[in-house]
């Protein structure tokens, strides 16, 4: 019996006619990497948005470590230890890669002193290390707008990690990354998560990645979890092959 980190109960939300989340009840176990797969428009991103308070469900609850966080705004949920990486990287485009991390660190430490140069904060080395870990050390001083999509994704994840979360929600972490690098990057990432003892949920289309790095897989379809199990079980399942993998390849 593993400890439950985050739990959702009967989450329901509608946009116009479409039901993007249909009575979703899901538990996320501490220390595991949960992969979410499913066709586009199945409501995967919506689920992440609800879990982080960006969207409010019309019905249902989100509990983090047993406490109800449904009404909280994202920033409060972040304070509780839930970080988020985005499908479209959400970075400070007029800042450099390093500065993005330094800003995150400053936010984490709630630094207020107006006379300290942000580049002089103690977390600087930690952030350089983090940047190095996601393989972006060489572009530390480059404005993120000038970086390719793949590196922006990694920095986006690094920014999330900079918050030292206990749960990290990632929306297609390797999309936009060259397929040759995907595995190398996931290696680093999963390693980092293990090292920092961070539980993760990641939406993924690449079944190879899922198979190799997920501890559990949840299959999404039409706004709800259809199946859940180990990668082995799931990826063999005929429905999955039909609805999901079929769509991807």
């Amino acid at each position: 019996m593993t400890e439950v980190l985050l739990e959702t109960r009967n989450l329901t939300i509608k946009f116009g006619g479409i039901t993007a989340a249909d009575n979703v009840s899901l538990t996320i176990n501490a220390g595991k990497n949960l992969a979410i797969i499913g066709p586009n428009g199945a409501g995967k991103t919506t689920f992440l948005n609800i879990c982080t308070g960006w969207l409010k469900p019309s019905k249902g609850q989100v509990l983090f470590e047993g406490r109800d966080i449904t009404p909280l705004p994202p920033r409060k949920i972040v304070d509780r230890g839930v970080a988020r990486a985005f499908q479209i990287p959400q970075l400070f485009t007029e800042h450099t890669a390093l500065e993005n991390l330094l800003i995150a660190a400053s936010a984490r430490q709630k630094r207020r002193n107006p006379l300290v140069d942000m580049h002089a904060i103690p977390e600087r080395t930690e952030m350089l290390h983090l940047l190095d870990m996601v393989g972006c050390a060489d572009v530390a001083d480059v404005l993120v707008v000038e970086l390719p999509e793949g590196q922006r994704k990694l920095i986006d994840i690094a920014v999330a990690l900079a918050l030292k979360p206990r749960l990290l929600l990632m929306d297609e972490p390797t999309s936009g990354v060259a397929s040759s690098e995907k595995h190398a990057i996931m290696e680093i990432l999963i390693g980092a998560l293990k090292e920092a003892n961070v539980t993760s949920v990641f939406v993924e289309h690449d079944m190879g990645i899922v198979e190799k790095y997920a501890d559990e897989v949840a299959v999404w379809n039409s706004g709800n979890v259809q199946l859940r199990g180990t990668p082995a079980e799931i990826l063999e399942h005929p429905d999955v092959i039909r609805d999901v993998i079929g769509e991807v390849v």
């Binding site: 948005n49 960006w54 985005f86 499908q87 479209i88 959400q90």
Partner: protein, 301 residues
Amino acid sequence: MNFSIFLLALFDGVAYAALVFIVALGLTLIFGVMRILNVAHGSLYAIGAYTTVSLVGYFLALGFAPAFAFPLMIVSAILVGIVIGAPLEYFLLRRIYQKSEVLQLLVTFAVFMILEDVQRLVWGTQPYFNSSALQVLGNVTVFGVTYTAYQLILLPLIAVVLLLGMRFFLRHTIIGKLITATTEDREAAQSIGIDADRVFLFTFVIGAVLAGLGGALASPTTSILPGMGADMIVLSFAVVATAGLGQIEGAALTALMIGLGRSFAVYLYPEISVLVPYLIMVLVLLVRPEGLFGSPAARKI
């Protein structure tokens, strides 16, 4: 206050609102399409008025009938649009669409400053007044109070015609649809072969003509003098923002609210009449941050 007073205030409010709306219409059209809040709109308004008095003065001196003032108003408005509006967009604004909102606004502010002096150089500092158009239509008397037919009937009529005309134009004509398309998504519009530059030029000229028309229509009722544009621009800004940017019907409704609010204030508590537009703006935005008819822009993440 009794019913007749109420009606009187109503009439005054509507007459005033009509003029405000006509000016705000051009401003909100330009903003809706080009995302530029054009401070120089006030100058175009003033120049429209100056041009009208000059032309009317000239032609009446030649012995034309006072009624000739009406076609001259339209001529002036079109002149403003083509002689000032078009070059403004073509040579100046076109260069700054990529720049930040702030800079775009400042560019139009600079143009406003320049045009203010141009007016003074061309027309001098003495106020002009020519109410021939007003006199042609004569007066109407309601409850022993005399109104000019021009303000009580013609202006509101024109305002309504413009409102409906603009709606029809945008929804049921090719050019109108092109404009709407470009407004909603410029890239998409260009990708399907719409020449956004021409749409913008056209829109700006229309907006400028409307500003000029506002001035032309105002000219028989008021003194034309330096600085008249500045007051109008602040007022129409308030209207446009309260309505929701780019919202034509909203502009109409807001203009009406401001017009009525102002005239009732004059009847009930004259001292606050100046405050009315801004109070309305703050109150509306307090309740609806995107303005009466505006819709919140959702950010995809």
